[in-house]
Symmetry: C2
Subunit: 289 residues, 2 copies
């Protein structure tokens, strides 16, 4: 079997169409959706990510407000900046680029965001709400901002018609940004969900039971092909920089010989994150009407 | 093998000792912790539950404020009552007894609670916060109110020294009150967690992999003995009324021949719910000092 490649650029393009349509509709009502990006310090990877977010805003009818801050900024000044952006009528979504330097308190910063401007979907008050909902349909209809990368994974699965209800999904990784929220999204869509992580015993055996296997561990080619069940759908969230280029958390060549469908790296989950960020922002702007 | 019986009355007694100690400490500072119970309508089971909560308050140094409301009450009047209790300086915890009649909006009622007075630990802003924490130790140290029944299950597992880290936990059931939060608590304690539910295919096979098996499906003796792995710990959350008496979701006799440890029904998880409710209330009162 040779796996169907699930192309994130194709799926992201469908999301950008929705973003543009909503932005155009907002423009008719005199509103330009605006995204503020807070970047603390000068981590090169973070700079690249924020840069691509700003570029995507320009390409899709959103304004962006870039707020670079020195690495040494105090928690107080970070909170003051967030408060200022919370008040700004031009800003509908605020993104605090992760990771923050270790002297800053991430939880407190996230809770300082106006939940209505939570572009990354990380405010606990928003997460607490959709997590309590009974179905993925309800979650999507709620208009609540969802964490971008896992929401992008759901878009890919839906676009390629991967059956979720009743499927056994295994999510390897339990990060705040990806693993944990994705497991909860798959659960809301009626998958039987196993969340695995660094303390999981016999991860190979756990992965081999997955109809939908999500790798979000951040280790290059950590999941070998023979951990993939014949006919599974594989979502590879990993983006690892090796001398030979970007590779995922899954051994792509070996896994695609067994999977029915798989996301490549690059070009799989990666392009979805920014698309969903813009989607959250235009949805937030609509709520301000 | 004959299973060790995990006695919820014994574990609840240890929680009540902590409750009494905290209440005594609060009394020294001039504070009597107070729990308000809102009971809409006259469902006999709900009346019994609320009655036992009020009785437990009296026995452990808490004041209770009972607020019965007619079944036909409007959402507006329910919210007004919640707002009134939010303002009351004598009330430190508020409990809205579930289920509410279908014309009332549960989500909105829960969100109307002051998160600092959320005795049942169901406010999404509270759930969103502890769900994001990295360890069960952090969750417990946070002082956030946790949903009572699943927090009680965790107390039982800890009291009886059941290893959680690295164990494969299977939670059958995904309710707002029990299954979903318990899966997240077990995950924070480093279990590999599978959440199963009515759409799960081959539930027998899923259950047989569990080192910790939680039954929270609400169907009498739904889980037969041969779904229990030899040596597993079984937590039976079910309380089903049959002509012969109360039975759990697990076939107790057959399961205890295979499990290493099991909670009985009645006398297992049942006694924990009220104990954890009182614990949430005295913790909330401490935060008001």
């Amino acid at each position: 079997m040779s796996a169907k490649i699930m192309d994130g650029k194709v799926v992201a393009a469908t999301v950008y169409e929705r973003v543009k349509a909503k932005a155009a509709d907002l423009a008719l009502r005199g509103v330009t959706p605006g995204l503020a990006t807070i970047l603390v310090g000068d981590d090169p990877a973070s700079k690249v990510y924020v840069g691509s977010k700003i570029k995507a805003c320009a390409a899709n009818g959103l304004k962006s407000f870039h707020e670079p801050m020195p690495r040494t900024i105090s928690q107080k000044d970070l909170l003051a900046k967030i408060a200022e952006l919370n008040r700004s009528p031009e800003v509908h979504g605020i993104l605090v680029q992760m990771p923050l330097p270790p002297h800053l308190n991430v939880d407190e910063a996230l809770r300082a965001l106006d939940p209505a401007k939570d572009a990354d979907g990380l405010h606990p008050a928003n997460q607490g709400r959709w997590i309590q909902m009974k179905s993925w349909k309800d979650v999507k209809a709620s208009g609540l901002p969802l964490p971008c990368t896992p929401a992008g994974c759901m878009e890919i699965l839906e676009h390629y018609g991967i059956p979720i209800s009743g499927a056994h999904a295994v999510v390897a990784g339990r990060s705040l940004l990806v693993g944990k929220p994705l497991a909860l999204m798959l659960l809301s869509a009626d998958a039987t969900v196993t969340q695995a992580h660094s303390r999981t015993r016999d991860l190979a055996d756990v992965c081999r039971r997955a109809d939908i296997l999500v790798a979000a561990v951040g280790k290059p080619r950590f999941i070998p092909g023979d951990w993939v069940k014949e006919g599974a759908a594989v979502i590879d969230v990993g983006i690892n920089r090796l001398p030979e280029g970007l590779v995922g958390d899954v051994d792509f060549a070996a896994a695609s010989a067994r999977a029915a469908a798989i996301t490549p790296v690059p070009g799989g989950v990666g392009p979805m994150t920014v698309a969903m960020l813009l989607w959250n922002t235009v949805c937030a702007a609509s709520h301000f009407l």
